[in-house]
Symmetry: C2
Subunit: 384 residues, 2 copies
């Protein structure tokens, strides 16, 4: 038996590696607050849980969920998009459910034929699933350099026509994990024009889009009339529902949605109907993400002030729940990590997201207010 | 953009195609009972639902589920295997959870490298996901002929050493969908010896294993000491939990489990923790599948007697909840299907599972007792 080469490589999903380090430190009796997981530890929007319980109590007989999502769920997503963006989507032809966006991100490359050397383009600092999916499937990846100079967005002018011609799937994630960079509408429009010219699909992972601290909400492909985007939206962050596994795929390209539906049928990624019933409650309400954002903003201010007091430079931080930062004394992420561990804080070294992350680190502030205050106390005393 | 060739082919997942036919017939005012879906319409084992509700009510804060399964879930599977088979498995090294076996079946070929022309071997009549997965991933498939003469099991003596050398993954499904054929222990042992000699993995889909009507339970790889099998077990049929999406992967091959765990990490196929908590209740009880089997056996007897009265030949039917049958007057499955539609019953033509199904059809009896009685009345009057 010959195993998949990618699985045989020594790499470990960075969270697993950091958690091992955390266990070792705690085994030594060290008091460490872990700030590595983007997994909210505040309550799910309460009506969701009540609705799931009620749906379960009404479900004596369990039946297979629909892979593309039940009609009532797809309608709720369409209603949300209409309310929130003023855009009309056809639930039957333009929306699919997903069992959390992680699985949908992993599977989307299977939509395409890759036999002609086409590539998947991925920002050099990224949510690791884009790369894990491409590498597991043996698809060539092009890593797009990111730096503070480019505002941590790929420089779309830096690639030649010959390079663009090999692109078949372009990953963009705004608000960006890990750097919090925001693509504005002009950036999306430019990218979509390139997609039209060079015949590729823009996969826009917008899972942090409803947690923002600016007056204007972040730009979204959903507002741009083009058949060249496929948008991934999630309830995980928006409604604190990471453990429910529920999201949506949206596109104006009917062929993309039709073939994605066909692809996903035998994969069996339908979400239990009782969870879809609860999720409707989440999509139907636009206020709770705003309320959550008020709390996150307070924690961001607290911790980011402390980081600056310790001499760190903090980038962006206008959306999501991450802080991306560096320190003039640290040219390596490992040095940053060591300094924070000394102060009792576990952060994620920027290199966990790619080599362009050297010298940076990511910290999550999706923690309780009490922990955020302790994090700020410790962060202010970090010696680097 | 070049789409995946397999998705562009005209094929439709057979249930979707038959459901379209059903809608058309009902739109004409026809009274049709559909017997095509293997989706139990009797209640889930009740303590499961209560346990899921209790778990949800205790879960104010939702967190990502563990992809490999929570420790308490893996322990429950290990305890079941020890009680039921007298076999000890290490939950940390020999068991993984899955989000229903469908997704696990779809994903398992990704465990391997296929660049040397290795093949996936699939019985010519099969659960369609084995083929859909291989074809979506572009892996060569070898279809193994099945017939009444071979008891609807592949004839392991009919392949040359040269052929076996190309096999890397062998799908076996016993009790078999759609034919209900049972592989006995000797068959499994012979297959596993071939796997050892020719270096392949036997993927044993045993999702119907606990619904049987013989004195002895069906054979399982779990009872055979070999590192050459990977077993797929499901709560869908055993505990009437199709809508909860919960199963387990078991192997004595630690490298297979380790790499599968690694493969499945970025796919994000963890099942919500509150569902795992309920599922433990299902694995902890061995009596309810026996009770369910009593009901299924009664329905099987009723409907199979009626089919025989109409002149059909019924095969196997010692396990699962399908009847696989033919009729001396019908050389085509379409003729069988037409005759049954005339009598108000929708069945699945054998050809939906592969060309060796020509002249056969499958009917599910996972229906209520009341419907089973009506099905028997109609089946006895089928004119072929």
């Amino acid at each position: 038996m010959h195993f998949n080469h990618y699985l045989l490589e020594g790499h470990t999903y960075f969270i697993a590696a950091l958690n091992e380090r955390l266990s070792a430190l705690r085994a030594q009796g060290r008091d460490i607050i872990s700030l590595i997981m983007g997994d909210p530890i505040e309550p799910t929007y309460p009506p969701v849980r009540d609705a799931v319980v009620a749906a379960l109590q009404a479900t004596e007989i369990s039946q297979y969920p629909k892979n593309r999502g039940d009609g009532f769920y797809l309608e709720a997503v369409a209603n949300w998009a209409l309310r929130y963006y003023g855009q009309t989507f056809d639930p039957a032809k333009e929306i699919l459910s997903c069992n959390g966006t992680k699985e949908a991100i992993f599977h989307v490359p299977l939509l395409f034929d890759w036999s002609q050397g086409q590539e998947i383009w991925i920002p050099s600092l990224s949510y690791p699933v884009y790369e894990a999916s491409a590498r597991t499937l043996g698809i060539p990846v092009k890593y797009l350099p990111l730096s503070a100079e480019t505002g941590f967005l790929p420089d779309l002018d830096s690639f030649s026509a010959e390079e663009w011609q090999r692109c078949q799937l372009f990953w963009i994630n705004s608000p960006h994990n890990p750097t919090t960079a925001l693509a504005d509408r002009a950036y999306f429009e430019k990218l979509l024009a390139l997609a039209e010219r060079y015949d590729f699909l823009v996969c826009s992972d917008e899972c942090y889009n409803e947690l923002y601290y600016t007056e204007q909400r972040p730009a979204s492909c959903l507002e741009i009339d083009s058949p060249r985007w496929l948008v991934f939206r999630s309830l995980s962050k928006r409604s604190h529902m990471t453990g429910y596994r529920m999201g949506a795929l949206i596109s104006r390209n009917h062929e993309v949605i039709r073939l994605l539906g066909k692809l996903r049928e035998p994969i069996g990624v339908g979400t239990p109907t009782f969870i879809q019933q609860g999720a409707v409650t989440a999509w139907n309400d636009d206020q709770h993400p705003r309320d959550f954002a008020v709390g996150y903003r307070r924690k961001r201010d607290l911790i980011s002030t402390a980081l600056k007091a310790a001499g760190c430079e903090v980038f962006g931080a206008q959306a999501g729940f991450y802080l991306w930062f560096s320190h003039p004394h640290c040219s390596s992420s490992e040095a940053l990590l060591q300094g924070f561990i000394e102060a009792g804080l576990l952060i994620t070294p920027g290199t966990a997201f790619g080599s362009d992350g050297e010298g940076y680190a990511r910290l999550t502030y999706c923690v309780t207010q009490e922990i955020a205050e302790e994090v700020a106390r410790r962060a202010a005393q970090v010696k680097l």
